[in-house]
Symmetry: none
Subunit: 251 residues, 2 copies
Amino acid sequence: MNTMNDGFSQRGPLYRSVQRQILDALARGEWRPDEAIPSEKRLCQRFGVSIGTLRKAIDVLVADHILVRQQGLGTFVASHNRSRHFFQFFNVVPHDGPKIYPEVRLVQFGTAKADRVVAEKLGIEIGAEIFRFRNQLLLNDLPIIVDNIALSAHLFAGLTEAVVRNRPNTLYNMYFDMFGMNVIRIDERVRAASAPASSAKLVGLSTGDPILEVRRLAFSFNRQPVEWRVSHVNANQHEYVHTNAIEIGVS
Amino acid sequence: MNTMNDGFSQRGPLYRSVQRQILDALARGEWRPDEAIPSEKRLCQRFGVSIGTLRKAIDVLVADHILVRQQGLGTFVASHNRSRHFFQFFNVVPHDGPKIYPEVRLVQFGTAKADRVVAEKLGIEIGAEIFRFRNQLLLNDLPIIVDNIALSAHLFAGLTEAVVRNRPNTLYNMYFDMFGMNVIRIDERVRAASAPASSAKLVGLSTGDPILEVRRLAFSFNRQPVEWRVSHVNANQHEYVHTNAIEIGVS
DNA sequence: AAGTGGTCTAGACCACTAC
DNA sequence: TAGTGGTCTAGACCACTTA
């Protein structure tokens, strides 16, 4: 009794189509973080699939930490309280030391046109308007990091310097609270580089000194690119940390 | 029509029990690496469960890379060829390019006494005997990385240069197959550094050129430190990559 | 054509949570 | 008690591989 479905979904398994529709609803903001999504039964009716198919679609989203199931309660949109959210994506630590919460200073803010790289990373047209700003990060009162951040002016329509400067918590919380952009995944690549003049002073170095360059692309649901960020790190006393565990055996 | 099963399995979901029985059969050697296990239908009969339950049991084993499914062919016992451990923990990629499998050359092997750092990292006494060896890694036939590796001679008693040189697959597979050391977690820290004389030539650079220094501590179960590794990377055309997706412990 | 895994159904009962 | 997710059934048809 295979419905072999409604002609609405593209080619591919039905549960993929269902998964896509759920992600779309999340992207539209139909369900907000920490809210429950409709029950499995209701979603079955809505999408016209059986419980098995519906659960298979949700399985993937749960595995990706986009949804969280709680038996007897419901299925929830994953959220993150502030500190956690921040620490999750902050990967610069003192040599052999623990993670420290930085002090952040906005040192520059403006608009610009997307160059080739920014356009490619953010998935927009070359020449499209973007916001560009720069944060200086201090660890233990010493300037260690400069973040050069680019946002699509289309996704962040109405963003102003005051909004960035006066945000009550982290940048990523502001992205979400004001623009519905929920950063759930980052892809970072670390290079060895020489400090450019524009960054050297802001991280307490001289032009040409060796630094770490961290290039980050941040994503929301459905792999929607949200933010492109190039950071320069004074790596004299700090390093980039990454822990990777695999799960075997199960038992 | 829930069988609510045979009284043979312990408490817990049926599919866990099935999974355990499959793992037992694998441990007994009933099916060998690269062999197909019986078809899903046969296994359903054998374990007295429905196809859905059987597939759920196998799903976990496939996710853990213990079994590999091939549609139209069968389900196979994973052979510890390359992919599994290696790609999981290999984080150096070309700028804006995909991951490449490197060619590995052993360039040095010997024993030594643990200095303070090695002793601390591996959790052994200063002066305890260790194995020290060095691998040169080539990407697209160009020398890019040098791995300086330290192992406790106690954990790896009997290790020889020949064993390292003639291992049939990856280092971490050899650790497991010959010494029972199963690497399941690594902690990596990346620094910007200048190429020391001992590494420069092996990565195609001159002494003092900027490089990436990756310091890795690898762990087995129970956070048992297994390997301490300091790698130097020619970062002219390559970078260190790290993808991080949100993780939440139930809101 | 035969056999395999891949997907899907339309229920059922169990375990847990909240009221 | 009502509602939720968690598990499980006993099939069905589809897509793929091999011969």
